[in-house]
């Protein structure tokens, strides 16, 4: 039986979430900045129209935003996460199988829906999500995930379609594949695009008509899969169960450049605390950390440095105190004065379930005591808010000179009782 997948995603999702709670934002340009207010990561159509690009650094567009009356927000992940959960709850009423692909995109299995009814169902889905949550979406339908993603792109860039594009309709498929350039295909980046163009591919149809073996030679198995997926032969099924996390990273741009060792140690200890929290939530541990920090390419006139080091632990751990100690050890090992560092982070790979991980023969950690302490720490932070209890090496959040205070963040409207939206009865 022919399969059918839908890809539904929120239009400028973060901005749309902000608009749900503030009617004044309805027709004005809105942007949302990345963590630590680094750069623009979500823009409404009005913001795109005044010339703001994806990834524009905040300091570069600050004046433009002021001049054009752009409303600027720090990212409010508590809000976006809650709104995303609501949107996915609606999706689940329309399909028994969904894959939450990212915070604002989900695949839905529509194979059981008759072809003639798919368009109407997708329109109904859009309408319901919008009415219930206030978030506008676009839906693309295709017989493979790659085609669904392509259909979504078409729906989004052609407003006349009413937010839905169904490429399982043969007429629509034939119409669009010759009109869309290969660069819009899911997974085709700059280097793949160059290779495809060298082969004379000017459209999606050209890529589809490549010999799969030739595609494999040129672009490995990924290229072969791409050709089949564009022909409507599914190679990728829905991932309805989230795979166990294999790696984890906590990285942040500093709000101000960091030039001294003590501040860098504090930042990495704070990152380690966050890492520990993430690992404990999933019962995972790690026995080595990669600690890195580097200067900024925007400081072209200053000396540049980028350094990373691996710190090995005696055995796997998710204990914040152990991780913080390891992180600050790593910082001291490779620290050099005289640079203006702009970003630092901790990356871990090969995470393992803590329960079943191998114990060290010598130098083993006291997991039982640490486990109880971390449980208490997590309980305090859940009850009194993140950052209520931190390792001393990480410093109080309000005293950290390197981290943003999220001054432009909107209230956490849906998750904090003291930040609920206020509606006038006057």
């Amino acid at each position: 039986m022919e399969r059918a997948y839908a890809l539904s995603d929120g239009n400028s999702f973060y901005c749309s979430c902000e608009r749900v709670f503030d009617p004044k934002l309805a027709r004005v340009p809105v942007i949302v900045l990345s963590n630590n207010d680094g750069c623009a990561i979500a823009r409404t159509a009005e913001a795109k129209a005044v010339g703001i690009k994806m990834g524009d650094p905040w300091f570069k567009i600050r004046q433009l935003c002021r001049d054009q009356g752009v409303r600027v927000y720090s990212s409010n992940y508590a809000l976006y996460g809650d709104m995303s959960a609501r949107v996915n709850e609606v999706y689940r009423r329309f399909s028994p199988r969904i894959e939450v692909y990212s915070i604002d995109e989900s695949f839905l299995d529509l194979s059981d829906v008759r072809p003639a009814e798919r368009f109407e169902l997708a329109s109904d889905l859009r309408g319901t999500v919008h009415r219930w949550t206030g978030v506008p979406t676009c839906v693309g339908i295709g017989s493979t995930k790659t085609l669904a993603k392509l259909a979504n792109h078409i729906a989004k860039t052609h407003p006349a379609l009413g937010g839905v594009c169904d490429l399982t309709d043969p007429q629509a498929y034939d119409h669009w594949v010759v009109r869309i350039p290969p660069g819009e295909i899911w997974g085709v980046g700059a280097s793949t695009l160059r290779k495809l163009e060298a082969l004379g591919c000017d459209s999606v149809a050209d890529v589809r008509d490549l010999d799969p073996r030739a595609a494999r030679k040129l672009l490995t198995v990924v290229g072969e899969r791409l050709v089949y997926e564009l022909r409507g032969i599914p190679c990728l099924d829905l991932e309805t169960i989230a795979p166990t996390r294999k790696g984890c990273a906590v990285t942040r741009s500093f709000s101000e450049r960091v030039e001294d060792l003590a501040t860098m140690e504090q930042a990495l200890a704070a990152h380690a605390a966050r890492l520990g929290e993430k690992l404990r939530r999933e019962g995972l541990g790690t026995d080595h950390l990669t600690v890195f920090f580097h200067t900024s390419e925007h400081d072209r006139d200053r000396p540049q440095r980028s350094i990373s080091t691996v710190v090995t632990l005696p055995e796997a751990s998710s204990d914040t105190l152990v991780l913080a100690k390891a992180a600050t050890f790593g910082v001291r090992k490779v620290w050099r004065d005289g640079y203006r560092y702009s970003k630092a982070g901790i990356v871990t790979t090969d995470l393992m379930p803590l329960e079943s991980s191998q114990r060290a023969l010598i130098g083993g950690l006291d997991r039982e005591t640490a486990g109880r302490l971390m449980e208490a720490l997590d309980a305090c932070n859940r009850r009194f808010g993140r950052g209520a209890v931190v390792p001393a090496s990480a410093g109080w959040a309000k005293d950290r000179t390197w981290s943003t205070k999220f001054e432009m963040r909107s209230p956490r409207y849906t998750t904090r009782v003291d930040e609920l939206p206020v509606v006038m009865a006057a």
Binding site: P23, K24, A26, R86, V87, E89, V90, R131, W132, T133, G134, Y413, T414, V417, L420, P421, V422, V423, M424, A425, A426
Partner: protein, 145 residues
Amino acid sequence: MLAAAITYSSPAALPMLARPVRAGFPSPADDFIEQAIDLQSLLIANRAATFLVRVAGDSMLLAQLFDGDIAIVDRSLSPTDGDVVVVDVDGERSFKVWSRRGHRVRLAFANPRFPEFELSPDAVVEVWGVVSGSVSPRRRSARRA
């Protein structure tokens, strides 16, 4: 409910036994244990579409919505005559009582001390959600500061 919580929450103390053994008489209530009443499900029918908002002002007094209350707003409901709604009128969001006369929507305050709410014919009116309930703490200390 309480009995269940006490007996089954500490299995670690008796790891060898499938069921904990109790001295004394078994509770006569054991066979009648039911779920605790879930206030959440009582107040919220559609979780995905329901938002909580804080009431500011006295214009909804007769609709039993008081300053400082938390109104429960269900966006999946369509308003019917007499419903309290959260509504955007020309970009201003507020509570009003909703009704329809023929094709015309009427919005009103629910407080006789307020003047009649005038809706200009060319106003852009968008219902944000229908109030399906409210949480009204009765003691001053529990209300908003």
